[in-house]
Amino acid sequence: MPVFQAYKRVIKKCIPQLLIYIFVFVAFAAILMTSGAPASTVQFDDARARMAYLDEADSSILTEGLKNYLLQYADFVDVNHDQASLQDALFFEEVHYILRIPAGFTEDFMAERPVEIEKISRPGTTTSVYLDMNISKFLNTARFYLANIPGISQRELVALVSRDLAVETTVEVRPTAVNADAGESLSIFYNYMSYVILNLLILGVGTFMLVFNQLDLRRRTICSPVPLRQQNMQILFGNLIYAVVCWLIMMGMGFVLYGKAMPAKQAMLVALNGLVFTFVSLSISFMIGSALNSRNALSAVTNVLSLGMCFTGGAFVPQYLIGEQVLSFSRIFPTYWYVRFNNEIISMANITFDSLKPRLGYLGMQLGIAVAVLAVALVIIKQRRQAENA
């Protein structure tokens, strides 16, 4: 199989370039694994916002009480108290909320004079609403006692407030198949994978086709004793083998890293989705390879196309962060369907055939795109042949 052998040699030469993508992906996955410890699924924990707590009043019993109470809702982050450090910390989301208790606060509060606490946050965010609510709760309760029990001491006040605020609602947590945090990193991992698969295939298949489509080389192979049909079969064989190997490497990585986190049914469906996406990528690579004839153009088109499809389809940034209009546009890309399938399958509590049925359509969309792209590729090939013959 001389054509197939040539295919292997071309791919071998590409390996260093291909490895860059795989290494970056491994590094990315490693970072992803270390960040975010999985939360427990059966027990409810109050969410904690990251908060910088600045007490200029030199901690009184009252403010210490507030601080202790807030421990339930916030993780205190140590940030330098200068303006620039606080600004930076808030901008880059190291803290969600900065609370500054002014000097003289306790005195004014105990005397029931108007008081103000300064807060700095990104206005209108969920974390900001959450902390506002709980801080106000503490102070309002304190104020209630203060107004009704004249002469109450700080210590008594804090004791009463803390006792009241210890009353908690019973929370029942319904289990889901994949715990939400693990589910999120699973989705991120498999969605990002689409970028890697796409690049591996375009680079490998595209390079091979560039080499084989050089005019002189093509003329030479056409007049060789290997029939054209067989040549094409060998190319097809090479493409399929290459695609499946890429898919196996990716799935192997997924299995090693996340094999334990995912139930078997989900794992199989995600793998199937990966295989379908690999075939779409193959047909896209085939089209690019047949349309282009320079390496510079190949790297430009590879980057633009893969980044374009992955950004708009939600492979890098979760789909909920992407606007409606962009998403409805990106439905023409396979990445959109690939990502959507992953997200929905991974977050599904239990998979039945009924709940799966509408999602199978996403795979169908990907295959449809693959066929359409392949058709375009064949037209391009035909036109190029005719142009060459003319």
Binding site: A39, F44, D46, A47, Y73, L86, Q87, D88, F91, F92, E93, E94, E116, I117, K119, I120, S121, P123, G124, T125, T126, T127, V129, D132, M133, S136, K137, N140, T141, F144, N148, I149, R163, L165, V167, E168, T169, T170, V171, E172, V173, R174, T176, N296, A300, N303, V304, L307, G308, F311, T312, V317, Y320, L321, I322, G323, Q325, V326, S347, A349
Partner: protein
Amino acid sequence: MFAHVFKYRMKCFLGDRVTLFWTMVFPILLSTLFLMAFSNFSKATSFTGIKVAVVNNDAYQENRMFQEALDSVTEKQGDEEPLLSMELVSLEEAETLLDQGEVHGIILLDPDIKLVVNQSGFNQSIIKSFLDQYQQVSASYATLFQMSPELLANRDALKDYSANYDFLVERNPGKNETDITVTYFYALLAMTALYGSFWGIRTVNEVQADQSMKGARVNLAPVHKMKTLLAGILAAWIIQFAELSILILYMSMVLKVSFSNQVWCILLTGLVGSLTGITLGTMVGGLIRKSDGIKTGVLLGITMTLSGFAGLYFASFKYVVTKAVPVMAYINPANLITDALYALYYYDTYERFALNIVLLLAFAAVFCLLTYLSVRRNRYASIPSIQEGD
């Protein structure tokens, strides 16, 4: 003579479509993709009424107080989003809504108040905080009446609990809106500025006789090598600055990315950043005496890593890196460019901006010096490394 060489350098560069693509078209495309990817960012992170399902059973119907409390948080008050948006449904319906992710939690009176969720999170915790508060207020009244029973008899003396007192005052964190997504665009500008190094490589390759055919030819001419080199750098600088300005213009006019309004300072950042990028390229081109492909590969590696540390892939990475290794804030040119733009956008003062610009100039000076040392006084007895078909 300088003018003559300069003119032809300009002509050559403007005809270099590959480098023009990577230094201008590609960043424009990428910035557009960034915009698409974050098109829903502010909406997704800002607070919207949390969806809850309230089970409509007998216990709920009988509890007038709770209904009132619910009303008070579900009704829109002024411009503010209501805290909760609720649906009154049967238990089965509520469970389906929760399973499908339509609501964040179910409030069930059984007859005690209970919250049913399927994961922990800020939205769920806000519902819980509301329910807690409802019960905590009752607890406060009970405590108070126990402590001073006379208040129970004399209701007029009682000062009611009020949740309306606003203790918190919002302060603005920075000059402009706290929006982490601008970092991606600033880091992209930094990357583009450093892509100027591709012009740098070309410039230096074409004045060295052992690096390209053109270099060999240029060295034969009776023009001082440094003159040719400077003419090349100047031409590259002008082109790169123009490209960067177009990109900035495109980002602010078309994509509506927020910049500070100090136009001259932004242009100065672009001017200095371009110079640093180009001289980085001439330095690498001068120090590494290998093929063009290897030089480009090394530079791509450097620029993509440095831009990554400046927040191109994850905006908060810029912050994390400089916090962990403070010196990275000063020795990474990409970070200096990003940070200059950020300081202009977010800070009231100019010190940090000025520091960044001075450091960038220092980098450019060092790169220039190293370029000079690597290029000067090379004489060639024979240059076997140059082959035909360069």
